[in-house]
C-alpha cells in the first residue's frame, strides 16, 4: 500500500497499527531506535505514545520527530 501521496505526520496519539499498515518502513526506524512496533500478537494495539511510555523513552517527541523525518526520506518502495 505504501504512503505515496500522503503527508507524513505521525504523532504520539497515532495508533501503532496504522503506522505499520501505512508506513511499513517505519518498522526499520523503530528497531534502529530501540523499539519494535510489531509483536507476536500483531502490531502494538494502542498509540505510539503508550508504546514509548512502556519502553520508558526519555524523549518520545524526539523519537516521533525523527520518525517523521525518516518516513519523508524513505518512502516505501
Amino acid at each position: 500500500m505504501g504512503n505515496k501521496g500522503k503527508i507524513v505526520m505521525i504523532t504520539l496519539q497515532t495508533n501503532v497499527e496504522d503506522i505499520v499498515n501505512d508506513y511499513p518502513q517505519a518498522i526499520t526506524y523503530g528497531i534502529e531506535n530501540g523499539v519494535s512496533f510489531v509483536f507476536c500478537v500483531g502490531a502494538f494495539p494502542t498509540s505510539l505514545g503508550d508504546l514509548l511510555r512502556i519502553k520508558k523513552f526519555a524523549d518520545p517527541n524526539a523519537f516521533v520527530k525523527g520518525l517523521n523525518e525518516y518516513l519523508i526520506k524513505n518512502p516505501e518502495k
Partner: protein, 493 residues
Amino acid sequence: MKMPKPMDESYKLFIDGKWVNGKEGKTFKSFCPSNGELLAVCAEAGKEDVDKAVKAAWKAFETWKDVSPQERSGLLLKIADLIDANKEKLAMVETLDNGKPIRETMNVDVPLASDHFRYFAGVIRAEEGQAVMIDKDTLSIILREPIGVVGQIIPWNFPLLMAAWKIAPALAAGDTVVIKPSSATPLSLLEMAKLFEKVLPPGVVNVITGAGSTTGQYLLDHPDLRKLAFTGSTEVGYSIADAAAKKLIPATLELGGKSANIYFPDCPWKKAIEGVLMGILFNQGQVCCAGSRVFLHEDIYDKFLKETIAEFKKVKVGLPWEKDTTMGSQVNDAQLKKILAYVEVAKKEGATVACGGVKMTGKGTESGCFMTPSILSDVKAKMRVAQEEIFGPVVCFIKFKEEAEVIRMANDSEYGLGGAVWTKDINRAFRVARAIETGRMWVNNYNNLPAHAPFGGYKKSGIGRETHKMMLEHYTQKKNIFISLSEEKVGFY
C-alpha cells in the same frame, strides 16, 4: 507443487453456536505469507459483536458450570478425536496462514493441540476437593469452582496450539470462553470452531476475529469478564495487565523471552548442535522461548560455530506446504523487516554475520517473507541483539569461560521464560538449571512443550503458567465451606 487451498473463501464470527456476520459489516483479509496470495476474508467483530459473544458465554455458563466432569471430559475427548480426524486439513490451513512448514504442523502443532484436550479430559476425572477437620466439631471443605467467562487473546506463532492451550483448561474447569486469534492468522482457530460446533453447547466457546486495536480492545474493555488470559509480547502484556487491574480480575500472561542455550565442553556433541537448530529455527525462530542466545564455552566455541554453520546451510528453506521443507516463511513482511533491521543493528554493534543475515531469494521464495537461517558471532551479552527479542531465525553466539560467568550473563535479561544447559555432568546440569532465573530449563534438549509440564515465565516473561494440571488453579476459584457439626451454643455472647 501447487499451493493447495483447503480453507473457505470467507469466515464469519462464531458466537452462541452460530456463524454470524459482524454487526458493522467490516471484514479483513488473511494472506499467505509464503506467496502473498489471498487466503480468506474474515469478519471483523465490532463492539456489539464482542458484547454479544460475552453475553452468549454467560448464558452458556449457567448450564456448562454444572455439566459433570465425566460429561465435560467426554466432550473434550470428542474434540480431540475430531482434531485428529481433521489433522491434514488443520495442518495445511495453519501452514498456509502462518508460513510454518507442513512437517511441523503435522508433527507438532496439530498433535499437541489434540493431546491438550485429551490431557485435560483426563485431569478433571482425577480432580478432587479437600476436606479437613479443623477440630472435632468443625469441618472445612475446599471445592474448586469455575470462574465464569474468560477473555482470551492468542498470538500468530502457534495459532491452533495456543488456542488449545487456552480453551482446553478453561472448558475443563467449567468456564466459558470468548477468544480472539491474531488477525494475521485467524484461520486455524476458525476451522477448529467448526469442530466445536459439532460437540459443544452453543456459547461455550465464542470466536471473535479482528484487529487488536478494535476487536481486541473491545474484549479487554468489556466489563463482564471474570478473567483474562493472554499469550503475546511483554509490551502488549502491560495493556492486558492494566485492563485486568481496572476490572479487578485475574490475568495469566505468557510473554516474551530471550532464552539462554548454554553449552559446556562435555555436551553430547551432535545432539547439542541439533539443539541450536531446534532452539532457533523451529517455527522460523518465532517462538517466545526460542534459544536465541547461545552461550558457548571458549574451549569449543570455534569448532562448535563452524559445525553449526554447516548445519544451518543444510536447512531447506522453501515453500512450507512441500514435505521436504524444513524452514518456511516468516509470518508477514512486517516481521521480516523487523528481523532484517536487527541484523543491521548487530553489525553496527560489532557482531559478525557468520551465516545468513539476509532475506531468502530464489527457489520459489521470491514472493514470500523468507529469511535465511542466521548466526551472529562475536556477540557480547550486553549488545541489543543479545537483550531484545528478535523473533526470527537469528541466533547470537556468545563466548564464556566460567560457569558462574555464564549464569550471570544468562540472568542479565529482563526476561525469564526458558533456556537450556547442555552437559553430561548431572551435577553441573542441575546446578545451572537451578541458577538460571526462568520458568523452564531444558537439559540436553530444547523446545519440547508437552501438555503435562508447566510452562511460563519469571520476571517480564509472564504471570502464571500454561499447560499442566496446575492450569485448573488459574481457571477456577476456591470455595471454602466451613461447617460446625455441633448444635451447642458457642457461649461468646
